[in-house]
Symmetry: C2
Subunit: 402 residues, 2 copies
């Protein structure tokens, strides 16, 4: 490990703003010659040469085979060092995913397992550390950064969840310092939906889009907002928290303690609840079978029943999709985004849900706002969150600490 | 006029990016010594001296009395030339305001009169030109920039309204070229609500706020979104168009041709309609008197009746305020802004309306999003739009044309 810069959460890996821009450019656009780097960064060739040499010395970049000839002599390509590793963690309400990526956020190894976030930070982060240790063996290298997404409001600046409704014990627990101490590298902590939005923005269906809304439908419902290519977090870090938009003052009770929230009507928990009621009512043989087998019904059961043509299950998804669509329609009128991406576990219900949301948005939003608006399903599925977490992690590691 | 740079919409007033930053800093923070300018712009003193000399030569800045001593020799202050003038225009659905400001966007003269935007661009802009000619006599000087706000979706880049629902004849009419040709200076064209939001951001109640929503309730309802100190326009320029968020698929018909829009329930036109119905029903003596006198009822009549304690009128404002509040509550959860400012003609109904909106937002939005959220009335009233238009105008004039 000699020659590798100290990558603790206290010390920056980079020494100049030019190095930040250079590393970020290589991450975002891949290997480049020194000439191209100079043109893109608007820096004199000598300066580029010196910065590349310094980054090479500390093991952050390396030079690769010759680039395509541009008429003059053949030049070698500069790229991010192939042995750099990033740990990326996606904590959901009921699952945890851990991945190892290279410094370009390409996933090299990935594992997902069930995990209840309500156990609190110590058991969950202990399990994360175990999974990380295991998975690092599959893609060994030098760990330079880590990123984690959490299923609640996060203070990005402080690296912790703040007053999260479904995460008892996590409130203001310093996840960044905890994992930074464990792994000895800079750690970025963000909301899970923001991470998924970033993942789709950089490696998924929204690659060419600067302004997008990523709507996650999992156990809960949330939205990641990317504006000008960056996550918009709002003044208290709660931007995009659409699950608790109230649809009705006298609606069903929500996990947050309020009533009538969007999440109390739709989302995984609500679908499971309504699916069980449907099973017990005798109006769905598919769901009655699932309930008889395991004593409960999951959102996935509802999805399977709907796919098999179960009328009651189809109606549940249509009703929920319509309610979600009304909310999304208002937000599309308000924000005028370039794309809406639907993701998360329940999104795997797929095209029936998508059809309902589309129908509501195209019918209700301003024609000008929907004229060129794609409403699409996530491309990355359960890797969106870890890719986005890796992106935030490298952003943090490549930035000069102030 | 010799020595003054050509300020047409084709030619830029500034020659370097440093000049742009220098002029903008003087506009935003007032007179400064060369030493302060160098510190704030992170430029060597000689460079600042040369840029100031050049801007002085062409009449854009001037040097004023000595600044407060900082221990060394007394230095003179640099400020924007006192004879620079900006024309700022605020076209509403039923009124037009024209102001002359100095280059710091301080209003020197202002006039407002009734004007129906539905007359189309030629008659309206002819009247704007007449008012501008008259008002320029009250505050003579060198015209360097103009800005105009229009009551509909605007393509900021092209300088024109695009498919505006209440502006027949204006669709894709090139307002920027028209006024640029007339006045021989750079012209910025924006949506009226965006201009009002910018006005409050720079000179009003939101001076210290980077992220805010400005909700305008006039004949129609709209919202200006300022993020990171800049207007957020969305990909098609329609961001903030909340007046046509649909509340009910079977609601009243809206001016846009759809049904159940927020604007069809509340806003000036809806209040006038419901006020007249109330007058005719015999349930409001105040409004019946107004109707008998003029054959119609205005939103202002409803406001006056409510202020006098008329039960029916109070209920109209409460119902509308509650509906508006529900929409604003959702948007606050979604955007997590630092401030909500309520303005526009109907906002002069004032505190009853504000109370309803506040009650809905504080009751329905996430506690984290509302914890430090002021919801306040506009401070600038009918000058918000012209101050914001002047701001966009100087932004444009101070920027290098590409």
């Amino acid at each position: 490990m000699s020659g590798v810069p100290t990558a603790s959460s206290e010390h920056s890996m980079v020494e100049t703003r030019h190095q930040t821009r250079l590393l970020t450019l290589l991450r975002d656009e891949g290997p480049m010659s020194r000439v191209e780097l100079g043109e893109r960064l608007e820096l004199p060739r000598a300066r580029v040469g010196a910065e590349v040499a310094r980054l090479d010395e500390v093991g952050l970049v390396e030079t690769a085979g010759p680039s395509a000839s541009r008429g003059g002599r053949r030049s070698t390509l500069v790229r991010l060092a192939g042995d750099l590793r990033v740990l990326a963690v996606d904590v959901g309400a009921t699952s945890v995913g851990v991945a190892v990526t290279d410094a370009s956020c390409e996933v090299l190894a990935h594992t997902v397992e069930d995990c209840d976030v309500r156990q609190g930070p110590h058991p969950v982060l202990r399990r994360v550390a175990e999974l990380a240790a295991k998975i690092r063996d599959e893609a060994p290298g030098k760990l330079v950064a880590a990123g984690i997404g959490l299923p609640g409001p996060v203070s990005f600046a402080e690296g912790m969840a703040v007053a999260p409704p479904i995460m008892p014990g996590w409130d203001r627990f310093n996840v960044r310092d905890h994992l930074g101490g464990l792994w000895g590298c800079p750690v970025a902590v963000d909301n899970d939906v923001n991470a998924m939005a970033l993942g789709e923005r950089h490696a998924g269906v929204a690659r060419s889009t600067e302004d997008l809304m990523f709507v996650k439908i999992g156990t809960g419902i949330g939205c990641g907002i990317v504006l000008g290519g960056k996550v918009y977090r709002g003044v208290a870090g709660t931007a995009g928290d659409i699950g608790h938009i109230r649809l009705d003052d006298y609606g069903p009770t929500c996990a947050c303690g309020e009533v009538g929230c969007l999440e109390a009507y739709f989302g995984g928990a609500a679908l499971a609840r309504d699916g069980l009621a449907l099973a017990r009512s005798g109006r769905s043989t598919h769901l009655a079978e699932a309930a008889a087998e395991r004593g409960s019904v999951t959102a996935r059961d509802v999805g399977l029943a709907a796919a098999a043509g179960d009328f009651g299950a189809v109606n549940l998804i249509r009703d929920g999709g319509r309610r979600l669509g009304h909310v999304v329609a208002s937000l599309v009128s308000f924000l005028n985004p370039g794309m809406v991406v639907i993701g998360g576990g329940v999104a795997q219900l797929g095209h029936q849900l998508l059809a309902e949301v589309r129908s509501a948005v195209y019918r209700r939003s301003l024609p000008l706002a929907t004229g060129n608006l794609p409403i699409v399903l996530s491309e990355l599925g359960d890797t969106a969150g870890v890719i986005g977490a890796a992106w935030s992690a490298t952003d943090r590691a490549f930035t000069l600490s102030s």
